[in-house]
Structures are given as C-alpha cells and as structure tokens.
Symmetry: C2
Subunit: 339 residues, 2 copies
C-alpha cells in the first residue's frame, strides 16, 4: 500500500526543479532563499515546479555550506513531571515558531558521563545552541568549564551562576508561601523539601528558613522527599512522629498529595488541624481534598524565556543579560486557615 512514488528512491534536486521550471539552478536558489531580483512570474514558475516535483531541499547540503543547521538541542533530566514537561513543550513550540527544530535528549538520572555524552551527541548533530532543563545542581556542573562551542542556556534556579540562565524565582515563591501561613498566625511551620541536590528544592528550603528566622518562629529540621507522591506520604508519616504541626509547607504539589494522604490516614483534618501549602499548581491541585493552596509557576512562560534567550544569543552573540526570574503566584484555596 506504500508505492515508492516510482522514483526508485531518487529525490528531486535543485537542478531538476530548474529544468522543469525552465530556469537556472541559480534562480531556483534565489527563490528558495527569498532573495530579491526575481520577477514575480519567474518565481511563480519555480514555485510550481517545486510543488510538482514535491521537491524538498536537502537540509544536509544546505547545512554543510551555510554552517547553520537550524536546529537546537535540549537536554532534560528527571521524570516527565508536569512542570518540566510543560517547559520542554513550550521550548519546542517557541523553537518551531522561530524556524528551529529541536533535538531532545532526555535522561533519567543526572550523571555527569551521560550528560556529557548526550551533549556530545547534540554537538555531532551540529545544533546551534543547547538548552538545559535540569533541576540537579550536579547536572549544571557537568558543563562547568567545558567549552562546547555552542551557546548554552540553562533553565535552572541556581542562585549564583555565571552561565546564561532563565528561571522562576523559587526563593521568593517559598517566602510567599510561608508569609501566607505566618499571616494566618501560624508559628510552627514545617517543611517537606525536595531532594538534596535539587536547585529548586534548595531555593525553596532557603526561602522557608529565612522567612522563619526573620519572623523569629521556631526553626525545625526539614523532611526530604524526591518530588513523588509516595515520598510525600512517607515524609508525612515521619513528620507526624514528631507531633502534629500547625502548618506544613510542601515543596511540590505532588508531594502534597502524599502528605494529605498521610494526614487523613492519621485522622487529621486539613485545614482544621493542619494547614498545608504546596508548590507548582498542578492541574489536580484544585480538586484534592481539600483543594490545595499553592504557588503557581508559569512553566510555559519559562520555556518561552529560554527560547527567547537562545534567539538573542544566536543573533547578537553578545549580551549576557537574561530576563528577570518570573514570580510564582499564590493561589488561595482551602487547605489553609487561621490558627
């Protein structure tokens, strides 16, 4: 059912188009590249010939001579969670709008060797830039002092870094979460953090700590999860072993799902017994029991920022300025209440 088109696999070249259109290959090239000095009628004939032959210019040949692949690379680590997946998607769409194709390398872990080999594979594919969507600080370090030969844009919330970087301000988001609880009169606010080594987790943890210190509220040991609901559940159980806190700031909505489960299992009500604030605003957040108060992140905007940065570098080659981090937005629902 799949006729080979009869051409025995041979595809049309620019010369075939020229012959059919009755012009020179030179003129076809002018049309292809939108160069001036082509009479409309001539252009028309060329366009028709292209359609008739179903001619597709060889990207390889063009890339060879122009030294531009019209392609960028994307390295993503971790699980395909809602946030990163949305950001990756947005980078993809923005890139396409700008005429770039995106080659994606997704890695389960963030080991330096696999990161490097992924990047090398991208370099071999002649990508013009690489976008990193990573959360692990170690993943970023894999690129430290490594001259790739192409610009690198990191989507990462490291608080100090010389590399070009776009981010959402996790620190201020966390402060907003804790402020909200403080404003409600809570003092014993515990924290379920993300995994050690996660830049987002560290920034949120720092925001939580500093807010408590400034408010002179008691500082406790944070619990650790790995972003998964399972880990949130287990952290919740460990947390309850220390007694019932007035409020918990959870570093992600997914972990909050697990925490809510642990609280319910222990016979505790939210928000009557415990107030809970999450982070991310995943689509499920509004429908948990109770609906979760959380911090919304603009993952799509983040991806767009990343691609905008890439385009800026590709054009000017200078300008190490990057956009201000976006601010998460507090979404009030029903999982918190005054003391």
């Amino acid at each position: 059912m799949s006729g080979n088109g009869g051409d025995r696999g041979r595809v049309a070249t620019i010369f075939d188009v020229a012959r059919v259109a009755g012009v020179s290959h030179q003129t076809v090239s002018r049309v292809l590249n939108d160069l001036p000095n082509v009479r409309p009628a001539t252009r028309e004939r060329v366009v028709e010939a292209i359609a008739e032959l179903r001619y597709v210019p060889s990207q390889a040949a063009r890339a060879l001579v122009t030294r531009r692949s019209r392609t960028i690379g994307l390295v993503a680590t971790g699980l395909p969670d809602f946030g990163p997946a949305s950001t990756v998607r947005a980078v993809n769409e923005s890139a396409r709008d700008a005429g770039y194709a995106v080659i994606t390398m997704s890695l389960a872990g963030a080991e330096v060797p696999s990161l490097r080999s992924a990047a090398e594979m991208l370099i071999r594919q002649a990508v013009e830039a690489i976008v990193l969507v990573v959360d692990e600080r170690a993943a970023l370090r894999a690129f430290d002092g490594w001259e790739l030969g192409v610009p690198l844009v990191a989507v990462a919330s490291a608080n100090r870094d010389r590399a070009l970087r776009v981010a959402i301000d996790q620190y201020r988001g966390a402060r907003a979460a804790v402020s909200h609880l403080l404003d409600l009169g809570h003092r014993d606010i515990r924290h379920i953090a993300g995994p050690a080594g996660s830049m987002d987790a560290e920034e949120r943890l720092r925001g939580w700590q500093e807010s408590l210190v400034e408010a002179e509220a008691p500082l406790t040991e944070p619990l650790r999860g790995d972003w998964s609901p399972d880990s949130g559940f287990r952290a919740g159980q460990r947390l309850l072993a220390d007694g019932v806190p007035g409020a918990v700031f959870v570093a992600s909505d997914q972990m909050a799902v697990g925490l809510l489960h642990a609280l319910a299992t222990a016979g505790l009500r939210v928000p009557e017994d415990v107030s809970v604030v999450g982070f991310d605003d995943i689509p499920e957040a509004a429908h948990l029991s109770p609906p979760l108060t959380t911090l919304r992140q603009d993952f799509v905007g983040l991806g767009q920022d990343a691609m905008a940065a890439v385009l800026a570098i590709l054009q000017d080659d200078q300008s190490p300025r990057y956009p201000e981090p976006r601010l998460p937005q507090l979404i009030l629902r029903s999982s918190t209440r005054p003391v």
Copy 2:
C-alpha cells in the same frame, strides 16, 4: 569567559586529523566507520589525534553522502500529561540507545494543517522515520494517503487501521475495569468518558458498553470530559444530577480526581456510597482519598515498542507486522467495594 579555543571558529576536519596522526584521510575514515583492515597501532594514533583536536565529524557532510541522517522525527499532540510524556520520553531514550537523535514537534491541538506542516518540517530535516504519539483520530487521518517518503509508526489505539501501529489495548482494559465492578455485584455502572474524537476514549467507552450489554446491566448515557481534573469534576456534578450511581468507571485518573472531589462535595463517600475505577495509574493514584483502584498502562514499554518498530522497518524495509498490544493491569486499591 568563553575563549573561542583560539581557532577562530574553524573546526577540525578529517584532513586535520589525518595530518596530525600522520596517516591519510582514507585511514581516518576507516577508523571512524569501524572498517576492518586497520592495524591496531594505526587506529590508536588516529584515535589520539581525534581526541587531541577534539574532532567531531560533520553530521551534515556525512548525511549528505550516506543519505542517512541518523535522526527520527516525533510528533506529539495534546497536553503534556503523564502518559504521553512518559511514552515520548521512552521513545527518546530507546532512540538514543540505538544511535538515533530525535527531533520532536509538539502541537497543542491536532489540526490537520499544523500536523502537516510539522511533518513537513521533519521531512526537511531528513528524518529517517516519523513516530506519531497522538490520541485524536483526526490526527491520524491527517496522514492518510499521504506519501511521506519515510516510514510512519503510530502510537495509537485505533481498532482498525492499516498503518504500522503500536498500542495498549484500551478496550480490554476497560472490560477489566467493568468486570471488576460487575464481580463486586454492581449493576448501575456509569462512565465518564474522554473527549469525542479521542481513540483511547472511544475504545474505553466501547469496552464499558459491551461489558454492560453482555452482563445485561442497564446501559446509560456516558458523560464526557476532556481528560482534565476540572472536566472530571464537572462531569461528576452532571452525573449526580441523575441520581447517585452505585459505581463509576472513569476514563482517566486525572478525571477521577475531579470526580472524587465532586462526590466529596456532595457528601458522598467512596467506596461506601459509590465505587470508582480510574485508568492510567498516575503516581498520585495511590494517595488520593481514597486510594484509587485503576488500570495501569505501561507507557514506557509502549515507547520502547514504538522505537523497536522503527528500527525493524529501517532494517528490513518490509514486515508490516507489529507487536501485540500490551494489556493494562488492574491495580486494586480502596475505591471500590461490594454492593
């Protein structure tokens, strides 16, 4: 801080490597392509020269002459939900293991024009095959009778189709869900389906209907959602307007989250008043209240099947056989109970 390596942008070619290694470019090429008849000592010198010059073969030049880009295309539609995102990820990893780079085109909608232009962009990039990760039947039809020139593998659950296709058996999964409820003694089993036009939704709907018919249980009008928790919540409200059913089979866990919310809001308990079965087994499912009984799909295995099919075609060029659809697995938790 980004020294240009001193080479003024010029990169090493195969001839540079040959000169440094003191051999001919011919020999370098032999080494690069693992051809026989190269003395180990010579190979060694070449490898060293490559490392010293940080030489990277030009993929463009190689593709030009070999007519192989070592690249495959991936078109994905819809939101970056857990299932599709996991599958896409798995395709990426399997491809990398096989030495292929993946160019991804993600589309929010599934309109024919954007699908076609995405595919054309992939063709221009000279991909050797295209993988479709789509749910909308219309998206599949955009490729009907269109001779792309490259093999196409669809990850889609259409029940009748001549294209090469890998899938999870949605129909049988739905039957397992309904059987479970039937076995518990339920007779009035309602269904919250996915959006019209979704192949997965149609298959699950069909499984629900046929199971009920065979069991001579009452058939009702299914509700419709769009996979989102919000839509599940609204469908739940509409459903309750008809009265309280004994059980509900929801076409996705995400929508089940919304349904649980609607039921709780109405003062109904799960499973005491209503039994609920979901579909997908998202990571949150085990921690909802109550923990959700659902059908687990092997999204990663699905992605691997897709890539395996691609490789099979790329090698053989024949063999329109494809793997048997995988079966979803019933995961029993606490959202169902006997009448």
